[in-house]
Symmetry: C2
Subunit: 344 residues, 2 copies
DNA sequence: TTGAAAGCGCTAACAC
DNA sequence: GTGTTAGCGCTTTCAA
């Protein structure tokens, strides 16, 4: 019977072929320094032994792991899921491995994940930060020589960023409703640090351009992005003395809750109430009323971010000059959930 | 100004404190062999230098990386997304890092990912296989000494598995429709190797128990899981001479397409047609008609799988005895999309 | 209680 | 063309 299935090392191939480990190493890496013939012999034995190089050992000497770390707040958000998938694809195409961690939107957990990555010597980090206000620990990583690219709504001094313009997206959504003639427009903001978000800023900006004063009762922080929050938000919004004729929900799941509220309370969409979502999840086109929403291209975003990160890694980070900011533009997808308000 | 921000090594701390690298290593790992006092001195300097151990070097000598690899077919499937998230959580709690790869349901890509993991010396692998029929390369890994746990519908000789019973879930869905009185029940099967799946087996079994012959026209492989496939599947199904009174869609996205077809073609759900989905995605409760569907607990599944994998890793794999099979039971969530067929 | 030496599996520099 | 030597940053004997 054959030997114990221990992982063979270069040394084992060397012993079996009579060459030195160095020659074996060279041969296996297709070095032109090695004869065609020796290479064949060595390759053959390597195959027989099922040799697989130990990347850990390689990493130690080469001081690079060909792995990058990705930190997301959570993977459940469809936009982040798509981003993760696209990042993985782009990375594996380039021969990089992906280490994944989640922060649960907590800076402490984010820090821990970052330290873990750093200890594991990742060549770079892609991060969707837990809080846009607290980026210093990330900048610190960067200063330590680890290339970092932010996936975020805003930038930060000293760090590269690929941003999806939440603010502009929200602006487009609100503006669309304004152009249809709506003047009382509610917004359901699922963001955690309530109201502080980019989306509410875009909403406010659009209103301001139309000379409409911001009614704080219409801008509701609801504390979460699940459909149930949207449903409850509608309860509040529609209980107002002057309820809105249109609602901008800060993501599509919320909008699903809004649509559900409408159908359970006998309101037509878009007849009685117009609804705009955010994210353009796959199912948005299949809601009870196909949803008008804001779309990004998370794939494009992921590609840009990976591209930039790998260039920072491979062309020397500092050499790449000052931090670069790129953005993917949102666009509005108009479906059937928006229409002019009922006359009168 | 302070020095260059190079990553300090044990040696640097040794030089700074006057102790040997060995003592520093011991001290930093809280060895009782080292004096309280020396430990303090060393810890202090380590802090000042912002020392972080190089896990790669540690891995090389300890022959373990404290990382595990997770291979999924894709992350977009909500069930897999939830699984990935739960796996990440469970793992990070235990101090393990997660390497993530996707196979795109292609065995070749799966093999490549597996080799990548193996080269990177992961301590174990969790895998949702691309094809249940082709598991030999995975068993091979296992034989190489790498602990593996399958996330799958079926088991395989020689590999541990945590299975979600697709077959049983489909059986429950179909049985529910039969109990309501439906006798012509269509099934839309999104699975890739058409019709070969566990779900269609469960469907057939339920029919058989009711003495209903399988009508091949009613069991439609549709080639994908996106809502559009469900829509087109309905086009076919309802064009039959004897169309079904109920439809079992093999996932919830498909069911969304089915509901859409019904609303666009003037059929009431559940009045004219009953619909059952599969997966119980968050939005299923918010579809135009809240969807009756089959639910798992992906979190429980992930926990079981991680638990088992870590026990294989930490208690010595072979020692753990013969491969263990565990399963999470599906359950049916009855909402508003199913009802008895119209009389006559 | 601390230090010296060896070695994890590999690549890189330099001989020959 | 191929072999020898050293060393990546750490842990692990084994001495002292």
């Amino acid at each position: 019977m054959s030997g114990i299935p221990v992982r063979p090392r270069l040394k084992d191939i060397a012993a079996a072929t009579g060459f030195s480990t160095n020659t074996v190493s060279l041969a296996l890496r297709q070095s032109p320094l090695v004869t065609e013939e020796t290479r064949k012999v060595i390759a053959e034995v390597a195959r027989e032994l099922r040799y697989r190089p130990n990347e850990i050992a390689k990493s130690l000497v080469q001081r690079q792991t060909r792995s990058i770390g990705l930190i997301l707040t959570n993977i459940l958000n469809p936009i982040l899921t798509q981003t993760a998938e696209a990042v993985e694809l782009a990375l594996s195409r380039r021969g990089y491995a992906l280490l994944l961690a989640t922060s649960s939107t907590m800076v402490e957990q984010e820090k821990r994940a970052l330290e873990g990555f750093s200890g594991r010597q990742v060549d770079g980090v892609l991060i969707y930060p837990a809080h846009h206000g607290q980026l210093d620990h990330i900048a610190g990583l960067r200063r330590l020589g680890v290339p970092v690219v932010l996936l975020a709504t805003e930038g930060h001094a000293g760090i590269d960023v690929v941003s999806f313009r939440d603010r502009e997206g929200a602006y487009m959504a609100t503006r669309h409703l304004l152009e249809l003639g709506h003047r009382r427009i509610g917004m359901l903001d699922g963001g955690k640090p309530a109201g502080s978000g980019e989306k509410s800023a875009g909403y406010s900006q659009a209103l301001a351009e139309y000379g409409i004063a911001l009614d704080p009762q219409l801008l509701r922080p609801i504390g979460g992005y699940a459909p149930g929050f949207g449903y409850r938000g509608m309860d509040e919004l529609m209980a107002l003395r002057a309820p809105p004729t249109a609602v901008f929900a800060s993501n599509d799941a919320l909008a699903a809750g809004v649509l559900d509220w409408c159908s359970r309370n006998g309101r037509q969409v878009p007849g009685d109430i117009s609804v705009v979502g955010f994210d353009n999840i796959e199912l948005a086109a299949y809601f009870s009323t196909p949803l008008t929403t804001i779309a990004y291209d998370p794939q494009a975003m992921a590609r840009m971010a990976v591209e930039r990160l790998l260039s920072l890694i491979e062309n020397g980070e500092q050499a790449a000059g000052r931090p670069q900011r790129q953005a993917v533009e949102p666009r509005i997808i108009i479906r059937e959930s928006t229409a002019p308000p009922r006359a009168g």
